[in-house]
Subunit: 341 residues, 2 copies
């Protein structure tokens, strides 16, 4: 198994190298797994030296000096930035590697993975899926790659998301919810109404519409929606969490009594903060592609990169892509059959 | 000035009566203002007696035994429930009163106010607008009455929302944001892209796209979006707030140290809870109607009803409807003019 890591496109390339070293150590003894770091070889080796390490046996380095930045137009990945660390990493994936991880420009990763790696046969649109760490880990898809969707697309995502949660996260019969502005099936946009009806006929454990107030309560394992609403929900979660923690900080620094209270609860408070750290489950995913592409957060630290490597290994070991291909093939073929009498 | 209160349709009619008594006391000396309670006269008088009060001089009661329930089909307000407390209250408003408040069925209030009270001339769609109490009070519109909108509708709401925030909430040059899945003007659904462009030409203080993570930070005073996304954002705020407070409760009840910490910060914690209490600003509003219609939360207590009465008085005293009518007339007439050379 070959896992490709774009080591240069995130905000902190040094953390990518550190994370790779940690993952390499975790994978000692797994001689079937090689980690390929794509990026500036001198810089990568220097960072390894800073960590007091030589390049481990299970890490290979593919040299390129070119980097696609956060400011680059996404489509440059197909042209002048084709030999950037991200472009080369996607090419390696296309040409035989098993999974790819990048903390770089999301738009470029979406464009590059769609055009270089390509979608699974029959998949209408690949989705950007993210784990929201609320009452239970919940896969939210789409998170911004597809602002406008059709009911058919949402139905396919329900299948892909269910397979991911079962295969990689170990959830039995994952419950699929449809994000909506009401519980009743006639509620929502025309797309949401059509999707509600269609999801009832899909081979997934559909639990119906999920309203905003239910999102944090763990009522479903996969939450499907358009990328416009999903992106706003995801980013609002981040913003609202920060806002709330800031309020708490103000509360605890108000006076002597509150400062004492802070000391008494510091450890538990850190626990709350850790609960909202989604990166322990790895990165976001482009689901519906022919190969696993993982998007780590731009500001990923070594632990986040390490978690993404483990996520990639689980993804591959569980034959997740094969399961997805199989289910999508069945769904597409049942669509083209005439309805039974 | 006559303010009509549907006293029966909320979850707690007794609280509506109590709230009306509180507001009546606040308005002592304002002989120009009468509060009209619509509902079962015997029950209303009994509740007043429970509070040790006779019916005050500035309260009138219009008797009806019929109530429209939360489970009723919204359209019954035009037919078999026309003489319910909500139906009669809207009729009084139509026939000369100045503002109306109800804590009842939102769908019925939307249908009834659109069909009985009617929209302001030139307004395409009335919006359900709610104050989100985050870093600053922010008017979110729409909150669920219109799941699908056009750019033109969003532009009109920007005008209506700005006038409300300036006129009733005293915000100078309210900043209007467009909820979107990215900061750049090409981001979002086709409607969002068109709305971004059109809002630049409107007579409002448009500050551009607002991403989910910015929503809690106070970057705008009016946030316009479709009712699908707005409803999800509003209800998620409620759900996420509850989730977070529950986490805190678990934290504080964990052990002796944390229980002590709770005692030390109890007062400030209550302050955080109070910050998230939107009802201090009154109820939600249907904006774009010919008269003010205020939707108090179904579970409103006396304080929430009292705040809604004050909100109604400010709405009327500031000539808010006249300002809205005037701005909409100008906007519509500038649309129909040919573009200047």
């Amino acid at each position: 198994m070959r896992i490709i890591l774009d080591a240069m496109s995130g905000d902190f390339p040094a953390e990518a190298v550190k994370g790779a070293l940690k993952a390499s150590k975790d994978l000692t003894g797994r001689e079937d797994i090689t980690l390929v770091l794509v990026g500036d070889e001198a810089k990568i080796r220097e960072e390894m030296k800073n960590e007091g390490k030589e390049c481990p046996k299970n890490i290979e380095i593919l040299h390129t000096e070119d980097v696609l930045t956060m400011e680059d137009d996404p489509m440059t990945i197909m042209k002048e930035k084709r030999n950037s660390s991200m472009g080369l990493a996607l090419t390696l994936l296309k040409e035989g590697a098993d999974a790819m991880i990048s903390a770089g420009n999301t738009g470029a990763l979406h464009a590059g993975s769609s055009l270089i790696v390509r979608k699974l046969k029959g998949v209408r649109r690949s989705a950007l899926a993210t784990i929201l760490p609320l009452a239970k880990p919940m896969l939210l898809m789409d998170c911004g790659a597809n602002p406008v969707v059709t009911a058919d697309v949402l139905c396919q995502w329900a299948i892909l998301g269910s397979i991911y949660m079962e295969s990689v996260m170990g959830v039995t019969e994952p419950r699929v919810g449809l994000l909506n502005n009401g519980a009743e099936e006639h509620k929502g946009t025309p797309v949401a109404v059509e999707a509600h009806h269609a999801l009832k006929g899909m081979p997934v454990n559909f639990v119906g519409n999920v309203e905003g107030k239910e999102v944090p309560t763990g009522v479903c394992d996969v939450l499907v929606t358009d990328g416009f609403t999903g992106n706003i929900l995801l980013k609002y979660t981040e913003g609202f969490g920060k806002f709330f923690l800031k309020k708490l900080k103000t509360l605890f620094s108000a006076n002597f009594r509150s400062k004492l209270a802070y000391l008494l609860t510091k450890k538990s408070l850190m626990g709350i903060k850790e609960q909202f750290n989604a990166s322990k489950y790895g990165g976001a995913l482009f689901l519906g592609l022919a190969k696993p592409v993982i998007k780590s957060h731009g500001s990923s630290d070594a632990e986040a990169i390490r978690a993404s490597v483990h996520q990639a290994v689980a993804f591959v070991e569980q034959n997740t892509i094969e399961k997805m291909a199989d289910q999508i093939r069945r769904a597409v073929s049942s669509e083209s059959k005439p309805a039974e009498a």
